[in-house]
């Protein structure tokens, strides 16, 4: 394999900050190259320079080796690539799929793909929808998604299917020379099982010989899909290594500059308390009747693939989505007139899975976001005491180690991990007897993740009953005293102590899936 793209000493300086410091990057033809690093390490800046959003600072150079995957053999002569020029990157065969995908949810797949690459026109300028449909269907089939209904709005598709549509759009002309696909955090908003589906698409591309630059927070994915990894830290390239010379811990060490201490919960006996969180026969959506008791001080993890009911559990417990049936009690008292408000009043606090759309009010200050669930606390029976509120906010900022200039900074300008810490503060401030968390560290980098985990530990030490639903199996093992695995809307298995391992949880999720398939096959016969 020869080189496809070489970047030499790329530097990008923002006022007061060196984002990239003479970074070299070399991508081989047909390889899958992972770019990893914490937030602020420079990986997104690198992508942005590559796609032409940012201009490099000073002397940087890059070259590529033009090639067409389908027919002509690669040329040996490198061609200079002007960095910071989107058009030049496109001509060099570099294609991008950004994290937010850039799809219009109300349009169907055909329209979305055509919108990006231009409509096929018939005589007179009318759109030739038939040709466009063919292009969309073929593109998606090539990626291993022939089952996507190209007629329905993409907003109704599963997250992995949406990503596939975005990839199909980016690669619509790969036979004309697209040679490198940049996937920027493609799985950040994908539930676990969807990641696997996305990987089938990535593997298809690998077979076709398309090189991939894969940017991700999820190291498991990197190990699964990449053959080479470049690790950035603080704008510097720390290492570029073949993936088989790395392991999980080694990579984290390179990313954060020191080793990460692994923790796990001490085992814990079920004490038979009647307090905490008691769920009886909860039904709604994909959830088909759940009974669960989380005791004060206990952390219960909930695992399950997409569609298993795991994703519905927290919305139903918190009253975000109305349930069809069942009851939830906090400290022995059943919650009436179920709504988020009544759940909070009963002593529950919760974090939703989607921090951006259901958690933060991006344009408002850290202070306002922090105190939102109980603004009244700083009401001095005449007016809102802004001063006292600021003092309180500063205390929480210190306690949670939130990296923010002041309590008045809009929360939207903080990093994801820091936003999540503020939202934790919003919940912990209520001193809840029950804490319900959905994907508490999704899209958060390794260092901040451990800090969040320690906050969860502390909440349980403060005797809160904690429920954590997560697609991150490592996280469940790290946090939980016991893990329940959901299949077909019900709890299929409960794992504790030595049984509670990543392998066992994933086996339980998938094994049950096989059983389901078998049952289905049997039923059809």
């Amino acid at each position: 394999m020869g080189s496809l793209l070489k970047i030499h000493e790329l530097t990008k300086i923002f006022p007061g900050q060196v984002a990239l410091d003479e970074v070299d990057l070399e991508i081989e033809t047909g390889s899958t190259h992972a770019l990893v690093g914490q937030n602020g390490s420079g990986k997104s800046t690198l992508i942005k320079v590559l796609c032409g959003f940012h201009q490099p600072t000073g002397e940087s150079s890059a070259s590529y080796y033009p090639q067409s995957i389908m027919d002509t053999p690669s040329l040996d002569e490198p061609v200079e690539l002007r960095l910071g020029d989107g058009k030049a990157a496109a001509n060099a065969g570099i294609r991008f799929v950004h994290q937010d995908l850039g799809l219009v949810d109300s349009f169907n797949a055909i329209e979305n793909i055509s919108m990006g690459v231009g409509y096929t026109k018939r005589f007179g300028g009318a759109i030739d929808w038939r040709a466009d449909r063919k292009r969309a269907e073929e593109g998606l089939a090539t990626l291993g998604f022939p089952d996507i209904d190209v007629n329905i709005p993409v907003g109704l598709l599963a997250p992995s299917q949406k990503t596939a549509v975005a990839i199909a759009r980016a690669l619509h002309d790969w036979d004309k020379g697209a040679s490198l696909l940049v996937l920027d955090e493609p799985t950040a908003s994908l539930p676990g099982a969807d990641v696997e589906r996305l990987f089938t698409a990535v593997r298809r591309l690998q077979e076709k010989g398309v090189a991939i630059l894969y940017v991700s927070h999820h190291l498991d994915e990197v190990f699964e899909i990449a053959d080479t990894a470049t690790i950035l830290r603080d704008g510097k390239r720390i290492a570029t290594l073949p993936i088989n010379e790395l392991n999980h811990d080694k990579m984290i060490e390179l990313m954060i500059g020191h080793t990460l201490v692994k923790r796990q919960q001490a085992s814990r006996e079920f004490i038979g308390s009647e307090k905490g969180l008691i769920i009886q026969g909860l039904t709604g959506g994909t959830l088909a009747g759940i009974d669960l008791h989380v005791e004060p001080g206990e952390i219960v993890g909930v695992a399950g693939i997409m569609g298993s009911g795991r994703e519905m559990l927290v919305p139903l417990i918190t009253g975000q989505t109305p349930s069809d049936q069942g009851a939830v009690a906090v400290d022995g008292l059943q919650i009436q007139n179920y709504s988020p408000k009544s759940a909070i009043n009963a002593g529950m606090a919760f974090l939703s899975a989607d921090r951006y759309s259901q958690g933060v009010i991006a344009i408002q200050s850290v202070r306002n976001n922090l105190t939102l669930s109980d603004v009244r606390r700083n009401w001095n029976s005449f007016k809102l005491d802004h001063k006292a509120e600021k003092v309180e906010a500063d205390q929480w900022i210190e306690k949670l180690d939130v990296k923010t200039p002041t309590s008045e900074t809009p929360i939207g300008s903080l990093s994801g991990g820091n936003q999540q810490k503020v939202l934790f503060g919003r919940s912990l401030r209520l001193e809840p007897s029950v804490l319900v968390l959905d994907e508490p560290t999704r899209g958060i980098d390794v260092g901040a993740k451990e800090e969040i985990h320690q906050l969860v530990d502390q909440a349980s030490k403060d005797n809160a009953a904690v429920l954590v639903a997560s697609t991150d199996t490592d996280e469940l093992v790290r946090l939980s005293h016991r893990v329940v695995v959901m299949v077909n809307g019900q709890i299929s298995e409960e794992l504790t102590g030595d049984q509670m391992t990543v392998e066992n949880i994933e086996r339980a999720q998938l094994q049950s899936q096989e059983q389901k398939t078998k049952v289905g096959a049997h039923g059809n016969a």
């Binding site: 954060i256 500059g257 259901q358 933060v360 991006a362 344009i363 408002q364 260092g447």
Partner: protein, 370 residues
């Protein structure tokens, strides 16, 4: 558990406290631009137009005349904090004015009671607005646009156009129009006086300010406007707030009608809907002031900056004012919203970047370069 290096990077992100190094931000021009414009108007028209700085030349007229617009602007502002548009406020104000006149003309009821009935009718319409927006989930823009036409129809049904003079009693009028104080300005012979409705307007303005900025309810309203789902999941009854804000909006609009009934008395078809525009313009212009979001004092400043500007232009170009006024108001709205959306675009970019969990350094530059 973060490395010192990481902290350093994150500390580099000081967007929120972006120290205003430029002269523009040090003078607060970004936050007080309307005040500067207002001062410029006073200097320019004060020098060029003799009567501009005279109490009975324009000061009294503008201060009192614009109370109606100010009340309507607040009526638009209150639901806007929850991200609901109320376009029916002009029509509601007209309905209040008409009811007061109609009751005075055709019944023997005390006129004060007529005013209360008028406000009651406005509350009912506000309640229906809320019902349509909250329960039927109709976009507030559409719901209140439709409602404004329904109210216009009700007004026509009650009355066929033209004007209607309820011959409001002196007692009734003096409740609003009487002077709070009146004295002669020494040496000039001109009388300085302000009517009660000016004071009522001021009190209502302070109350709205107090509720929006100094109570949990106000905080909840802005949270609802900022991210309704996040607000709801934080235990805020967003539906009730939106609904309540539309009822409050209708009450304020009705009060604007009452102010007009004290001030002028007669119902005319030119009152009402045409006032929607200056009110909306003032709120959006005001949103570009002080806090960078809709706010009470920004709205007050905007109302009076626009009013004094128009007054000055009217003195200087008395014949052209009929077209200059809408042009001035229209351009102000466009420019103000363009500035506000530019700020919004920056915010959205920031949010997008945040959503993608991109590096903080990127935020930094965009904020500075934009």
């Amino acid at each position: 558990m973060e490395t010192p290096e990481t902290s350093a990077t994150e500390d580099g992100n000081d967007l929120g406290s972006s120290p205003g190094d430029s002269i523009w931000s040090r003078l607060g021009f970004d936050r007080f631009s309307a005040l500067y414009v207002l001062v410029a108007f006073f200097i320019f028209f004060g020098i060029t137009e003799d009567s501009f700085l005279m109490w009975n030349g324009s000061l009294e007229f503008v201060l009192t005349d614009k109370i109606v617009v100010l009340m309507l602007a607040l009526a638009f502002l209150v639901p806007l904090t929850t991200e609901a548009f109320d376009l029916s406020i002009g029509a509601i104000a007209a309905l209040a004015l008409l009811i007061v006149n109609k009751i005075a003309l055709e019944t023997d009821l005390p006129q004060g009671l007529g005013a209360l009935i008028a406000i009651g009718a406005c509350l009912v319409i506000g309640w229906v607005n809320g019902f349509i927006v909250v329960k039927l989930r109709v976009n507030s823009f559409i719901a209140t646009l439709g409602m404004s036409q329904v109210v216009a129809a009700i007004i026509r049904n009650i009355h066929d156009g033209g004007q209607i003079n309820g011959e409001l009693s002196k007692t009734y009028r003096s409740f609003g129009k009487g002077d709070i104080f009146a004295f002669d300005w020494p040496g000039t012979g001109s009388e300085i006086a302000l009517p009660w409705y000016f004071l009522y307007g001021l009190i209502i303005t302070v109350i709205v300010y107090y509720i929006l900025e100094h109570t949990p309810t106000g905080r909840h309203m802005f949270a609802t406007g900022g991210n309704p789902e996040a607000a709801r999941l934080s235990g805020i009854n967003t539906d009730r707030l939106t609904w309540g804000s539309l009822v409050g909006s209708a009450a304020l609009a009705g009060f604007a009608g009452l102010v007009y009934s004290w001030k002028v008395g007669i119902y005319t078809t030119s009152f009402g809907a045409p006032l929607l525009f200056p009110a909306v313009a003032a709120v959006f212009f005001g949103a570009s002031q002080l806090r960078g979001r809709p706010n009470v004092w920004g709205t007050v400043i905007a109302v009076y900056t626009l009013a004094f500007g128009i007054k000055g232009i009217g003195l200087r170009y008395p014949r052209e004012i009929s077209w200059i006024q809408p042009m001035f108001e229209g351009l102000t709205l466009l420019i103000a919203v363009a500035i506000a959306s530019r700020q919004l675009i920056i915010k959205v970019q920031k949010r997008k970047i945040d959503k993608a969990d991109l590096e903080n350094g990127d935020d930094h530059t965009e904020a500075n370069s934009a």
